[in-house]
Amino acid sequence: MSTTINTKCFPLPSSLKVIAGTERAQAAYPYYMQFSKEDDERFWFYNSMHFPEPMSAFDVTTAEAAYCALGAANTRVHSLPTTLGIDYRIINGRIYIGGNAVTDPAEIARRTNEFQQRAFYYYEHWEELFAQWKQKMLALIRTAEALPKLALPEFEPLDHVRAGRGIASNHYLLDVYQKTLEGYFRMWHHHFEFLLLGYGAYLTFFDFCKKAFPEISDQTVARMVAGMEAEIFRPDDELRRLAKRAIELGVEDLFRDGAVPGDIMQTLERSESGSKWLEELAESRDPWFNINIGDGFYHYHRSWNDDLSMPFASLPGYIANVKAGERMERPIDKLMAERQQLINDYRDLLNSDEERAAYDQMIQLAHRVFPYVEGHKFYCEHWYTNLFFNKIREFGALLAAYGFFPNAEDIFHLTHYEVEAAIVDLMTSWSNGSPPRGPARWTPIVNERKAAIAEWARHETPPALGPVPDVIDDPAIVMLWGITRENLEVWLAAGEKPDSNEIKGFAASSGVVDGIARVVMTVDEIDRLRRGDILVCHVTNPSWAPVFQKIAAAVSDIGGSMSHAAIVAREYGLPAVVGTGTATQKIKDGQRIRVDGGRGVVTILQ
């Protein structure tokens, strides 16, 4: 992005202070994530799309791994002509990121030459490379699943000794931990292997549509490109299937609002038809319940498999829908035919055969890349991430058992370096018979950091820092975060006119609805949503899909019209406005609001 200094400016990073009393928690983050004086020269924005809540010391591993991989793909693998990777900093638990634009024309030309040899090869061999990608991802998942359970026996098992294994159990703690961490970093490389190229091909078509039809809505372009069979829709489809099976097996009355999953399952076990349903459930769970109630970037975004209350809570609604005669299978053929009709209708409106030929070229490419754009999330952010955090949780349980801290979950308040140190501490203690040093050290630190996270969550943080660039032409930032110069104007204006009762965002899914706003800041609050409420959150998430059958509309702070949230909202026919920047700050829980998803406007009515 351009670094030209504009008179308009967000607060400088140096003016943003660490909240009093949390300095030590802030210092725990690695040195390379801390703001420094030079950072005042650059523009940063709060990545509330991916990291809407303060990040614990361990969870920042996600930022490290993701930006290492994103940057490598952009800078070194595909050689994007005009941008390198993303820089990131953390303050008060909030992750700020900044682009790294290439502006020298000679350098752009040099990188363009590389790009065309690399990226074009990917586009040309997209299907085979993507098929290969799925195999690589599944292999990575199987490897992570196959990592042994952690154990520190009093004596090394006799068969290990007799087999001459030679390596004692304590070593495998380090081995498994490093493999776990390594796997996570590796997964993020897979994640970004195609992503920017996929978004770029999509944006190429998007850009054309916006030029040819300046008033076309983002969502209409999205509808022309979106596929229908991506993995990300499957978990929700499985729930519909299970609702239908529950009725067929005559066990549907057990699923009532407020019923505890464990109780339901116990009752089911006692009958033949109940057991049959449980078999169906088991089939759905592997792998489709490996979906997080979040984006998978926080350790507490547990999967449906880990916590069945989310999927179970939505079953009564689905069962009611089936009984009301609603067709449960998504009509794929019909949706595809509608998509084709839409493409043809817009094609007909173009001005010349020349334009139509260019349009055809671009939409073909967009369709080619889109299965990856839609499909990768399930494997990466959901399935693999669950495995990762759960394995770390195992280490947490082990360390907690040795008194390092009270609860297994406390491990997430150590950095990944500190976790390794604690593991080596435990390995040493097990080996030499002395007590570990950790128990005396970590509990107060964990408590201090927990308190800091809670404190940070109570404070708002500026949406951006530093001088406003004249233009944002970093394709990565535009593509992944939907941040444009116009967005920034809106954010700046929001700071100037706090009393306006209108909030503007991207029109993600059309329709107009009035309702009570439920401002949901963390996933834990999802169960506060009642039928007919309007969900107001930092980022609407596709894995919240079951929530969408309950709510009347959705509003989010950040997100583009291609976010999965927007796609799910359109599927459910709910109005949605995304990328408002400030909705969760401006709208108070319980207020009556109107969501106009066609115009991208939210109005506070009272």
Binding site: P81, P214, E215, I216, S217, Q364, L365, G598
Partner: protein
């Protein structure tokens, strides 16, 4: 319906008849034949006008003197306009023209000979699109009775020699010899709401949207700019209403008891209320699409909704502003389709 050399009925007219019925008359006929609801009416062909003008030319030339006018000579323009208008208005109507108009009037009105009518100019010029003359000549609304029609027919003819009309033709260099004027006589619609519709965006040229402007009462208030209309934008393909600006419509044009129209203040409760409902918007947009398909190019349309909710079109002409800009394509096909992605990655935006 009785056609004569002086009278053509809408149902018999196509665009090919424009030299005789003018652009507006041709368009109304074309719409009628395309099955679009248009208030019924007939056109007094240019024959009557040519006849009257020929008589006037014998006394003192008209066309050659208009041709000779200089745009800079404002006084000359004004004086010639005054003279020719007065002469046209006072010239006696040829008896056959008069008889044909009276007969057609009776046929159009049926038993109620005081049925309110619109009398509208429909100018024509060789080698020139009607659109370029739009709005320059007079229109008379809520005209009642054959005598009043005869009077206003001559007023329409005379308006061909208004200062703005003549200046426009001089600026355009249109030779007077091809210039003539027909007159449309059409049943008036007691409009509850009326306005204009563009089958592409007047703001951005987008062909995928229809813009509809609407206000209470007769459309003349919208066309003349006396009221800020409600404004709606509807996706042609999606049917979505993406813009819905409801304005404060202080005044409206309504019929005067004894003919003509008057301005009244809009009742308080209606001022800020939408002057058209969503169902009507959708129907109107469908009509717009139908007309656009018929003409194979974006249209600029005047419409009205009567007191019973029926929609009629009063005019349709090709959109001219953006069609000029269409000539450069948004993109051309690339030898290697992948080159398109450089628009995003190459920093060329």
């Amino acid at each position: 319906m009785h056609a004569t050399a002086n009278i053509s009925w809408f149902a018999d007219i196509t665009l090919a008849d424009c030299p005789m019925v003018g652009g507006k008359g041709g368009s109304l006929g074309e719409l009628t034949r395309a099955g679009i609801a248009v208030p019924p009416g007939f056109v007094i062909t240019t024959r009557g006008f040519e006849h009257v003008l020929a008589e006037l030319e014998k006394q003192n030339p008209v066309r050659s003197r208009v041709d000779a006018l200089s745009l800079q000579d404002l006084r000359g323009l004004r004086l010639l306009s005054q003279e020719v208008r007065a002469r046209v208005k006072s010239a006696p109507l040829p008896p056959d023209v008069r008889a044909d108009i009276v007969a057609a009037h009776a046929e159009l009105c049926g038993p109620d000979l005081r049925w309110p009518l619109a009398v509208r100019s429909s100018a024509t010029a060789e080698d020139s699109e009607e659109a370029s003359f739009a709005g320059l000549q007079d229109t008379y609304l809520w005209v009642k009775g054959a005598e009043a029609v005869l009077e206003y027919v001559r007023s329409c003819w005379a308006s061909l020699y208004s200062v703005p009309s003549m200046s426009y033709r001089r600026k355009d260099g249109t030779p007077e010899n091809g210039v003539a004027i027909a007159v449309v006589v059409q049943k008036m619609v007691d409009a509850r709401s009326a306005g204009v519709m563009f089958t592409r965006s007047p703001l951005t040229g987008d062909r995928s949207v229809i813009t509809i402007e609407s206000a209470w009462g007769l459309g003349s208030a919208v066309v003349s700019g006396e009221v800020t209309p409600d404004r709606f934008v509807i996706g042609k393909i999606t049917g979505q209403i993406s813009v819905r600006d409801i304005s404060d419509k202080r005044i409206q044009h309504v019929p005067e008891e004894n003919g003509g129209i008057k301005h009244i203040e809009t009742p308080e409760a209606l001022r800020g209320a939408p002057s058209i409902n969503d169902g009507e918007l959708k129907t109107l947009a469908e009509i717009g699409r139908k007309v656009e398909r018929h003409y194979r190019r974006p249209q600029d349309i005047e419409w009205a909704i009567d007191r019973s909710g029926d929609i009629v079109l009063l005019q349709s002409r090709p959109e001219t502003v953006w069609s000029e800009k269409d000539k450069a394509p948004v993109a051309r096909p690339a030898p290697n389709p992948l080159e398109h992605v450089m628009n995003i990655f190459g920093g060329r935006r």
